[in-house]
Amino acid sequence: MIFSENFIEITYIIATALFILSLKWLSSPTTARHGVWAGEIGMGLAIAGTLLHFGIVDLKLVFVGLVLGAIIGVPLGKVAMTAVPQRTALSHAFGALCVTLVGTAEFYLRAPNIPPFMMAVLSLEVILGSLTFTGSLMAAAKLQELRWPPQRPVTYRGQNFVNLATLALAVIVAVVLVLHPDQTRLFPALIFIPLVFGVMLIIPIGGADMPTVISLLNSYAGLSAAAMGFVLNSKLLIIAGALDGSSGFILSVIMSKAMNRSFTNVLFGGFGQIQAAAAGGQEAKPVKSATAEEAAAILSAANRVAIVPGYGMAVAQAQHKVRELYDALTKRGVDVRFGIHPVAGRMPGHMNVLLAEADIPYDKLMEMDAINGDFPQTDVALVIGANDVTNPAARTEQSSPIYGMPILDVDKARTVMVIKRGMGAGFAGIENPLYYLDSTLMLFGDAKGFVGNIVRELSGGHG
């Protein structure tokens, strides 16, 4: 028995090391797939070790659970790349569900003999787990654009107060349980209140804020798993939870900086409330527009082109046409690179995945900081389906709601081309002075169609 217990711990230690290596290998695309293998081996070892656990009576239910989980997991692993954000949100919900259920079972197994510190951690586990569960389901539903909840932020007066009061109520219940763990009747409230809070937390958040929300929920899911590790005294779980928690935390910070939100905004989830800009006073200014033929001529004469894609490109399903444009220009000796804003997709890094899926080499996908210095030497910056992340007002207009937000400095390129359906403003209703620059040409039309036309002009014309 001692032998098997030590054996289990050894499998856990190896699994822990493999998990850390797995994340380390993810630092570069060349080694990243090793990371997945390391993670899989670690996971397999840990599960196999656990099955040797000394107290095990019956493995029937375990196998039923594993098989059912695998049956659900396979299709979730095969969703389209555009659907990865909602899949990720859904998996945060599943992770949180697991943690909450285990926490609940542990409470009823142990009550009333639960020491105060243990009960505090258990409460944290259940509160975080429950609110992440409903919060992630809401986020997934919004990303999937289901009929309910609405995409638009739903706000009302005193919302922050109501939300904080709800959370406070959950904390009060937790404190009472810490002091009196025999009050088992109170425990369902510890699950139910955060479940409601999770819904209320996501209701006021709009689609554009999803990258931050997903990262934050990722962090919560990790922290709840770490809390579960404390309860079960499992170092492996504490470490996996801490890794996941810090990963989500780092991503939330990156996303909030990219969206120009303060750090406290992220911690308290108080985002999603960009006030619509006072757009009044702007009379219709003249813009220059160009046809696909003209655009193709300018592009083929360029040495250096930077393409700046936004989520609009993915919505129009234009990434494969963009790839054809990339091929056509590269064949003519034009240096084509992509400038990717951190919030260009619906979750951190999403745009890179969408472009990689279209077979665009990853070494052409440049981060914002890496490409910004090069725009003055860029002949053409081609903006496809992006708006606010290219708005120079963020650098100059102190009155602008996006003032201070880091942007791609496309306005510094010699020529700017913007593919856009019409002159409507971006999600925040903010005017974009980029469109009125002398160096800017507006290409009005659907992203997929227009890029297709440019490609046709390029292949039809002479080199």
Partner: protein, 98 residues
């Protein structure tokens, strides 16, 4: 028991530091696979659920444990599959460098 919790706190703190340092180095290029991979690794919570379902101390614990296994396993299987699918798509333009 008290010592256990303190040790756990140490482990948590150290793991959080390692997490910060390792994940800070992950290229923004791979932030989506990073999230799906950490999500799959986080589903190691399944070990807690397995013990609950297998020990079968009470019916409630066994049922909750089994549902928890289903939820976590779907994350493990789905998370690894999609992470690998995404990483396979990332190709370099030039000849491979060592």
């Amino acid at each position: 028991m008290k010592l256990d919790l303190l040790t756990s706190l140490y482990v948590f703190m150290l793991a959080a530091f390692i997490g910060f340092e390792v994940i800070r180095r992950v290229s923004p290029l791979l932030h989506t696979p990073l999230m799906s991979l950490t999500n799959a690794l986080d589903a190691i919570a399944v070990v807690g659920a397995i013990v609950l379902a297998a020990e079968h101390k009470t019916t409630l614990a066994a049922i909750l444990g089994t549902i928890a296994i289903v939820a976590a396993t779907s994350n493990i299987v789905g998370g690894f599959i999609i992470t690998d699918r995404m990483l396979r798509m990332f190709k370099s333009s030039g000849p491979k460098k060592p």
